[in-house]
């Protein structure tokens, strides 16, 4: 992205944000639901992007954290507690569990770590399904209320969409700050070369745990929005397949790119809807599209853009060098 001038980047950002605010005003209930879902899934995928994309720690448990956040919100708000309190509980709970789940990552890496987190994902699902006293098991929790924000009810789809969008905005700013801070640099160091990072005084242990805890906490935030969005939750949506979906969003969008989760979630949530006109074939077409994309660009969609910009930069630089040397050659 470094190639675009700053003003152009700001203009693009303003247009995108304005578009996300204005355009959905004419959307029907279903369109707003899908778009809200996109915002919620983007938050969850940003968390995973932090853990996986930046810090390089494979996790197949992000869906479980969305589930933990969703159940925390559902249980608390059905008891009449405010969503903001439930959000706080979801964040603290997921942060703590994420921190603990980080410990195996200090010993195992890559696909071994994937298995450890996969086991946790299954464990969380079993708790959601079997602990009836807490989660109402397979019957699920219904009539989850939507909150009032500063006195405004968000029962209707449009205000609730704005709540999701606003939350996405706040999370984006926080994550942007985080990855530009020395922590973000330490996360990248952890991903690229943990041994060298250690020799430069970077406490890789603490940063690994932090990467898990913060990424998981964002999963919890997404969950705390998911429950009032659907207003009914049961264990099924938080099965392992959600973790895999979130993983796919991060990879397709471009792991380690700030905007990767936005693009990835858009494709994972919206593309199946757009392909619906093909009727029975849409899931197959979707699968083929994903395979083709990853063959063409293993670093995801933003990887393509990044490559294009890097090539352009090299061309400009060499053109500049050529111009300079011809100037020097001239008397």
């Amino acid at each position: 992205m470094t190639c675009f001038p700053r003003s152009l980047r700001i203009a693009l950002g303003i247009i995108a944000v304005a578009g996300l605010i204005v355009v959905p005003m004419n959307f029907n209930r279903y369109g707003l639901f899908i778009l809200s879902q996109w915002a919620v899934m983007t938050i969850a995928a940003m968390g995973l992007n932090l853990t996986l994309g930046y810090a390089g720690q494979v996790s197949l448990a992000q869906g479980a954290f969305v589930g933990i956040g969703a159940y925390a919100a559902a249980i608390m708000t059905s008891q009449g507690l405010p969503l903001i309190a439930a959000l706080g509980v979801a964040i603290v709970l997921c942060f703590t569990i994420g921190w603990l789940l980080g410990y195996p990552a200090l010993r195992v890496q890559h696909h071994y770590l994937a298995f450890v987190t996969l086991a946790f994902s299954t464990l969380a699902f079993l708790v959601f399904r079997n602990e009836d006293w807490l989660t109402k098991g397979i019957y699920g929790i219904s009539n989850i209320p939507r909150p009032n924000i500063l006195g405004f009810p968000t029962n209707r789809p449009l205000p609730f969409y704005y709540l999701c969008l606003g939350s996405l905005g706040i999370v984006s700013l926080a994550v942007w700050w985080l990855i530009r801070s020395p922590w973000g640099r330490a996360f990248v160091a952890l991903r690229e070369n943990p041994i060298r990072a250690l020799s430069l005084g970077i406490d890789t242990r603490r940063y690994t745990l932090m990467a898990f805890a913060i990424g998981s906490a964002l999963g919890g935030v997404a969950g705390a929005l998911y429950a009032p969005l659907t207003q009914y939750i049961d264990p099924v949506p938080f099965h392992l397949s959600l973790s895999l979906d979130l993983l796919m969003m991060v990879i397709i969008g471009g792991a380690g790119f700030f905007f990767g989760p936005f693009v990835g979630a858009m494709i994972a949530v919206l593309l199946p809807e757009w392909l619906r006109f093909t009727q029975g074939y849409y899931l197959m077409l979707y699968a083929v599209a994903v395979i083709l994309l990853l063959i063409y660009s293993p670093t995801g969609i933003l990887g393509i853009l990044d490559r294009f910009l890097a090539e352009r930069r090299t061309k400009i630089a060499s053109a500049r060098r050529a111009a300079k040397s011809s100037l020097e050659a001239a008397p």
Partner: protein, 247 residues
């Protein structure tokens, strides 16, 4: 003069192979000690034991008189012990400046101040000075992965100096570096040694480089200390000639 580094009777074996077999030496403040020996004689393993990357089977390491055996590499680094690796270890996707900021950022403030403080940890100026010192000025914003091998090697060395270390262990700094750049590197290392009173231990196969840079040389063979002394003494030692230098 005080010993910055004291190594006593370090032993490390892998299965049935004893890679380092009771090595003892010390390094005085401001000294540049060369560490030479044939491939596989245990030089890098010794480095890894000193720096906490490997846990020695026996022996003790002291830095400034304090026992540091068993400390993690990151803790040791924050005590002022820094290193480079035999193979290139820069972070290719970060820019040259970012690499240097990364190398210095953990040496100041707390975890929290690094989260809420400025994104460069206040190190841009220090990084740019280091960039200037190693003559990498025109490359500051380039991703490190795009640099030539020799330039990356310079960056690698520069990173080891960012935290203002007291003791630096350099593992083959001259490997694969062309002659012009080698002279540059030697001159830079000598300058840091003079100006900052930094103490070095250097593993190197390039004899000319070692002999001209180091004040003392330690020769290892088969995990043991074969000889130690001034470069000219070591070169004249028949056992060293037999084991390493060749006739």
């Amino acid at each position: 003069m005080t010993a910055v580094l004291e190594v006593s009777n370090i032993r490390k074996s892998f299965g049935g192979i004893t890679a380092v077999d009771g090595v003892s030496f010390d390094v005085q403040e401001g000294e540049i000690l060369g560490l030479i020996g044939p491939n596989g004689c245990g030089k890098s393993t010794l480095f890894n034991c000193i720096l906490g990357q490997l846990t020695p089977n026996g022996g003790e390491v002291k830095v400034d008189g304090k026992v540091v055996t068993g400390l993690r590499p990151s803790e040791l680094n924050r005590l002022g012990v820094s290193r480079t690796f035999q193979l290139l270890q820069v972070f290719p996707k970060l820019s040259v400046r970012e690499n240097l900021i990364l190398a210095g950022q953990e040496h100041q403030g707390s975890m929290l101040s690094r989260l809420f403080g400025p994104s460069d940890a206040g190190l841009t100026e220090a990084a740019d000075q280091m960039i200037g010192f190693f003559k990498l000025d025109h490359l500051a914003t380039e991703p490190a992965g795009g640099l030539s091998y020799g330039q990356q090697k310079l960056l690698d060395a520069a990173m080891a100096f960012m935290g203002g270390p007291r003791l630096v262990l350099l593992d083959e700094p001259a490997g694969g570096v062309n002659l012009t750049m080698l002279a540059d590197l030697r001159e830079r290392l000598a300058a840091i040694n003079r100006e900052k009173r930094a103490t070095f231990v250097v593993i190197e196969h390039n004899m000319e480089f070692v002999m001209s840079l180091c004040s003392r040389v330690l020769v290892m063979a088969e995990g043991k200390v074969l000889a130690m002394g001034r470069p000219d003494q070591v070169c004249a030692n028949p056992a060293v000639i037999e084991a390493y230098l060749g006739h």
